[in-house]
Amino acid sequence: MTKRHIITLLVENHPGVLARVVGLISGRGYNIETLNVGPTHHPERSRMTMTVPGDDHVLEQVIKQLYKLVDVIEVSDLTDERHLNRELVLVEVAATEEKRAELVQLAGMCDAVVISVQDESLTMELADTRNRVADFIDLLKPYTILDLSRSGVIAVSRPE
């Protein structure tokens, strides 16, 4: 079955790790839809989260191959497991004075925050699940989106 897989990795914080992981996946012809890397509470370890669309069987192989990388300590496919995920989006929308109030209201309804106001635009942020971030962006489509940056999903497994 093909679906979007959320894969998290705990890796050694070594130069080149990112290239190894990405190379392994892209070298097999799979597209990494989102990718996020950051430090963890352990100074020598980093956490990577990525979303990769693909067939279950194929992703199982990819995960086994990822495990073979010497710098990869742990790999989990959280797709079918209890987990928590968040994505951050920063979006700048054209906003003349008369549109401002409307946009601020919309942001409020979606739990987004206005983080900067310019003469001709507003910049908002929203940290929420992947789907709600996507919904928020859809709601903004009738306005003019000037710039947009999404962090990609980050995820942790959720204990029972």
């Binding site: 890796v11 050694e12 130069p15 080149g16 290239a19 190894r20 190379g23 070298g27 199982e60 192989q61 086994k64 191959q65 495990y67 073979k68 990388l69 010497v70 710098d71 990869v72 300590i73």
Partner: protein
């Protein structure tokens, strides 16, 4: 614990010594001169100067396959490293333990397109088990310890260490014997006894079990355990190309090789068995044929050290992750002694009906005959190293391998040019063994220059070139599947298609002249053109204390059979074209 001050290059020699490496195949250049200077003073280490870095990697590989130890090669930055890529990929595909050290431009110049700079760790990432770009000389002792550990444990493979010149020259006081602590590298140890029990039960209830064994039996030194299991439970054994020698082919239970050019008996047995037990083999497409019809009625078990190998291309019923040696020994304890008379007899009949055979009566000099004679004249005791092509398959058919590490061949990557340097590496490890390289007139030209290395060191490797005037395996495919459109596969001038013809040459009968070429490198060259001369030439070569190259002018249009046409299933194995 050493804490005395020394340089990074000292640590390289120290790291090799710690790992027990005493032979290095290499070729110098600006970015590795500091290491070569240290080798100059390392009396306990042999430096073998190759003539092309591909040769260095294949020699290290041949040395590793013949001994089971880690092979070591040393190359310079840029072109030295890129020349090593084919040999790394060859070793990677076949799971061969190797450490390749490459020089790199000084750290501060990396990324500047400096002279002879290449992104070596980037280029080799996909063809090594792991690689390192060393930033600090203090890390070298640890990296060397890790590299040898990674190369030789789990499913073995090549590891590359790229060392910038300034790191080679930098001073360090790092301890010489650091602890290896790799959080992300935990090669399989032990096995799941439940799975082994399940497999033993399956064997005990199976009527027609079949062992299908690969390179993992060789790498895992599990031949004795495999033989014990097969004998106790009377399970017939078929091996992959990589598995040849893992089970004695002279044994009554041996069905010989399976797959695209496997024996009829082995290929049919796969379709007939009710339990297929794969040991250290990876269901390669050259083995399985059309995957959906591979052993369709059998329950499938897979013993492998590498979890990613399991369920990769074939779904298995009983997976067992573990060392072949341990798992097979445990299985042998648990299985019942069984006759399986009907199954074993049926397969013996099949073997008698479909022997791996060639026309022994013909006057013509057939390539198969030459290999058969290599087998007979050497009393089956030669260490055979092959190149890639038809001769490689005939080497699998007409020599019977009875011990592990006596058949070395590039199975996974299929690298033409592998044979001679790998043979030299094997001969370096065992100067007194009868190492015979079986090659084709195409393959041999890819690394022929390394012959001089054998001559220089007095390694008496024998090379038999089966000259069929063609890139024979390519010609066979063109004949069978491409309407005889022999583009690019004809080596002999006179037979070439019109647009590949050249003006007549002074000597286009033997172009190149392999005998002269051998002599130019200081070896002995012999040309054999008729059947009667083969045995005397081999006898002479095997008793001569010098590298001998025997060029046999063999029949041009001979094809390798049996064959499973590409995309067909093993049941559709054909014995000839008609």
């Amino acid at each position: 614990m050493t804490t005395e001050t020394r340089t990074g290059a000292d640590c390289v020699i120290e790291g090799l010594r710690e790992a027990g490496a005493d032979i290095v195949f290499g070729l110098p250049g600006g970015a590795v001169l500091d290491i070569f200077s240290k080798l100059y003073h390392a009396d306990d280490m042999k430096l073998v100067l190759v003539r092309h870095e591909q040769g260095a990697t294949h020699m290290a590989d041949g040395y590793a396959r013949a001994t089971g130890k880690v092979g070591v090669c040393l190359v310079t930055s840029g072109p030295g490293a890129t020349n090593a890529v084919t040999g790394l990929a060859t070793a990677y595909m076949d799971g061969i333990p190797m450490v390749c050290i490459s020089g790199q431009v000084p750290s501060h110049m990396i990324g500047n397109d400096a002279f002879q700079e290449a992104d070596t760790t980037g280029i080799t990432r996909a063809v090594t088990k792991h690689n390192y770009l060393v930033h600090n000389a203090d890390d070298l002792p640890r990296i060397f310890a890790e590299a040898f550990h990674i190369a030789s444990t789990g499913k073995p493979g090549p590891v590359l260490i790229d060392i910038p010149k300034d790191v080679q020259r930098a001073a360090t006081t790092a301890a010489a014997t650091p602890a290896v602590n790799l959080a992300g590298y935990r090669p399989q140890s032990g096995y799941n006894p439940e799975q082994v029990k399940q497999l033993a039960d399956a064997i005990n209830t199976a009527k027609r079990p079949l062992l299908y064994t690969g390179g993992g039996v060789i790498a895992g030194n599990a031949s004795a355990e495999l033989t014990a299991l097969a004998h106790k439970a009377n399970i017939p054994v078929t091996t992959t190309l990589m598995g040849l020698g893992g089970f004695p082919e002279t044994d009554p239970l041996a069905l010989r090789m399976l797959g695209m050019h496997g024996s009829m008996t082995a290929n049919l047995a796969v379709g007939e068995c009710d339990l297929l037990i794969s040991v250290g083999a990876r269901f390669d497409d050259r083995v399985t044929g059309r995957i959906a019809e591979f052993a369709p009625t059998a329950k499938k078990a897979h013993i492998d050290i590498d979890p990613s190998s399991i369920n990769k291309s074939v779904a298995v019923d009983i997976p067992v992750v573990g060392h072949a040696k341990d798992v097979l020994a445990a299985l042998t304890d648990l299985v019942d002694t069984r006759e399986r008379g009907e199954w074993v007899e049926h397969l013996s009949e099949q073997k008698a009906r479909f022997p791996l055979a060639y026309d022994e009566k013909t006057e013509e000099l057939l390539p198969q005959y030459v290999i058969d004679m290599v087998y007979k004249v050497s009393n089956g005791e030669a260490l055979i190293v092959t190149d890639v092509g038809q001769h490689q398959m005939w080497a699998a058919h007409f020599f019977k391998y009875t011990a592990p590490r006596t058949f070395l061949s590039s199975g996974g990557l299929g690298t033409m040019g592998y044979g001679l340097p790998a043979g030299i590496g094997a001969q370096a490890a065992f100067p007194d063994k009868n190492v015979v390289v079986l090659s084709g007139d195409g393959s041999i030209q890819m690394c022929f220059q390394e012959l001089v290395v054998a001559v220089e060191h007095g390694w008496n490797v024998n090379t038999v070139i089966l000259n069929n005037g063609h890139l024979g395996m390519v010609r066979q495919w063109q004949e069978m599947f491409y309407g005889k459109e022999y583009a690019g596969s004809v080596l002999k001038q006179e037979d070439r298609p019109a647009n590949e013809k050249m003006p007549p040459q002074a000597n286009d009968e033997f172009l190149p002249d392999f005998v002269k070429l051998a002599e130019a490198y200081g070896a002995i060259g012999v040309r054999v053109t008729c059947k009667e001369d083969v045995v005397p030439a081999l006898e002479k070569a095997f008793s001569t204390k010098a590298p001998v190259v025997i060029e046999c002018i063999v029949k041009e249009e001979e094809n390798v059979y049996p064959m499973v046409p590409p995309g067909a299933s093993l049941d559709e194995t054909i014995l000839s074209m008609v």
